[in-house]
């Protein structure tokens, strides 16, 4: 099933950042992800699309082992980051998550000041020694997230006092601050209005220069706008993956075609 022509197209990809082989995920007795094989390219945006409950978020959460926090969840197979198996028993998920950051569906800033929201990650990872360095990281993260001009005068203000779109960009800045290599985004715009969405999409496009980005989205337009490669999930299977343009104009699988033309989902 998974050896679709899509994976052949993957040959065009520059270099692989994450590669998953035969990944199975079980929630108790439910088989949520069935035998997924995928290569995710470095410094590019990969979008996961598919109907609700198809397992795209579940698979995304495998990539930084957030599923470890769910007791009944079990992951099998191999997921390599730069050739290292992230499910190896020697891997500390805490270190992994510093490398593979995450932005969630609902903006979830800490109920602290904007400054502390950004500074928290560098602090716990011991990335800084002096206050000046920390100030610099905070400023540069906010600049990269395109939020600096809006908040530079109120860094001491609460992060929860920002608007929804600003909060989400704050969360992205918070993820950037620990200088990860990969950023996972789980429907980052689903709680935002179109204007805020446009800003976040623009930001994602800029970030791809420095980061590998994997984004789960319900909006096919969004996938088409921001991603270079798109993977279509259905019922726990990875149906098709390929260059975004190909997926949307010339899908190979009938299910992909049905989904993107709006026949189901």
């Amino acid at each position: 099933m998974t050896q679709m022509p899509g994976t052949i197209k993957a040959a065009k990809m520059t270099d692989t950042k994450i590669s998953a082989r035969n990944v199975q995920v079980y929630y108790g007795d439910t088989h949520a992800i069935k035998d997924v094989n995928i290569e995710i390219g470095s410094r590019a945006v990969t979008a996961f699309i598919g109907p609700s409950g198809c397992g795209k978020s579940t698979f995304l959460r495998c990539l930084n082992r957030m599923n470890d926090t769910i007791d009944i969840c079990r992951v099998e197979g191999n997921i390599d980051l730069d050739g290292e198996d992230i499910y190896d028993s020697r891997v500390d998920p805490v270190q992994l998550r510093a490398k593979v950051g995450m932005v969630f569906q609902k903006p979830n800033p800490f109920p602290k000041s904007i400054y502390d929201n950004i500074a928290y990650g560098p602090r716990i990872h011991g990335l800084v020694r002096k206050k000046a360095e920390l100030d610099e990281i905070v400023a540069s993260s906010l600049q990269k997230a395109g939020l600096w001009n809006e908040v530079k005068d109120r860094l001491d203000g609460p992060g929860t006092g920002l608007s929804g779109g600003q909060q989400q960009r704050l969360c992205i800045a918070r993820a950037i601050a620990v200088s990860p290599e990969v950023i996972l985004m789980d429907e980052p715009c689903s709680a935002l209005d179109p204007i805020a969405t446009a800003k976040v999409e623009e930001l994602i496009d800029e970030l791809r220069e420095n980061f590998t980005i994997v984004i789960v989205t319900h909006s096919m337009q969004q996938a088409a706008r921001v991603s270079q490669r798109t993977a279509f999930f259905h019922m726990g299977n990875l149906v098709e993956i390929g260059d975004t343009q190909d997926i949307f104009t010339n899908p190979v699988d009938k299910r992909t075609q049905d989904y993107i033309t709006g026949r189901f989902g």
Partner: protein, 448 residues
Amino acid sequence: MTDAILPNVASAPASATKSRSLLEVDSHTRRRNAAETRFRFYGIGAVLIGLFFLVALLWAILSNGLTAFMQTSISIDLHLDKAAIESAEKSVVKTSKYNEMIGAALEEKLTAAHIETGMPVKDLMKILSSGAASTVRAFVLDNPDKYGSTVPFDLLASSRVDGYLKDRVTREALANDKNLDAAHLDIVDAMIKAGVIAKTFNWSFVFGSDASDSRPEQAGIGVSMLGSLYMMLVVLVLSLPIGVAASIYLEEFAPKNRWTDVIEVNIANLAAVPSIVFGILGLAAFIQFAHLPQSAPIVGGLVLTLMTLPTIIISTRAALKAVPPSIRSAALGIGASKMQSVFHHVLPLAMPGILTGTIIGLAQALGETAPLLLIGMVGFIASNYPAGVADGFFSPNSAMPAQIYEWAKRADPAFYERAWGGIIILLVVLMSMNILAILLRRKFERRW
């Protein structure tokens, strides 16, 4: 409901076409509105009944107890004659000599105020508290430099005289009373006119120690308040860290399996165990097995800790559960460890709930009497405060509710008044604790 409507709709397709005016209320809506109005009245009625009982309770407490905060005393001028004091100290019953001195001074005072007593001094002394002599003696021993001078004393009047000034004791009631006669009351009336006797605020009730059955006018709740304070310190120091640690582990770290289920059910059950069971457990474990001192606040504190722990654990877990999971994911998502996410983010957000639960648990423990009876924390402490701080934890003491219970048991109606007064103090302490809980919650509360 729908069943009742359906046939109507089906049988009257014709009438369905002409729509009814919105300006007239149909019978169905009227019935619904009536039901709603009725329900509102039930609610108001329930609240009013509750308020009535609350007011009745407060009125009973205040009307019975407020008088305990005033106490009648008689002012006399006592000449501290060195020879008399020395001979008193040499005699066997020392206070009787002091009584003679006080009696003489009292007579002198009354003569100066032109009050005819017409009774022997020994009889006249009944208007004074039987503790008067020891009060004077304690002053004399503490102040040897005052020998030879005349010192003004405000000596407590006896509880009957005090009751007369508070309208508790009537002349008719004295007919059956061998402690005081109507003749005494005549003298008291004259003394009131002369300003020799007066009611003043009773600080020694708030800060003093208990007194024996025969001198209720001396009894105070201060020492047992200290006993309660020591117990609460033990409870706070033990149950807050243990309770919070246990809840954090159970809520955030423990695997969800059969064992944790069993533990959870047991904690919920422990919260419902009658407090007297904890009392007998404390008696067996802490006193008979561990040989901790009887009647000591340390034991009371340990027993109340056992009782308070389930309350604290349950409320702390509820507070932790109420923290949105998105905060945990946010912390984990940027690479915080489980412990960092709990201690940096979850715990601060749960703090208001934890503090409220702790203070409510403490308040519950403060008002608890039954377990204290079993471990003997109804000590009769008529002496003074414990000598040292550590002494306070290990020397016998009483606690506020136990002291109130003791007073309520005693025969003299003067003690009854003090029991109510003690309840007022207990309620004031509880209310201040609750206000503290509210203030802390306000202070720590944060939006997310």
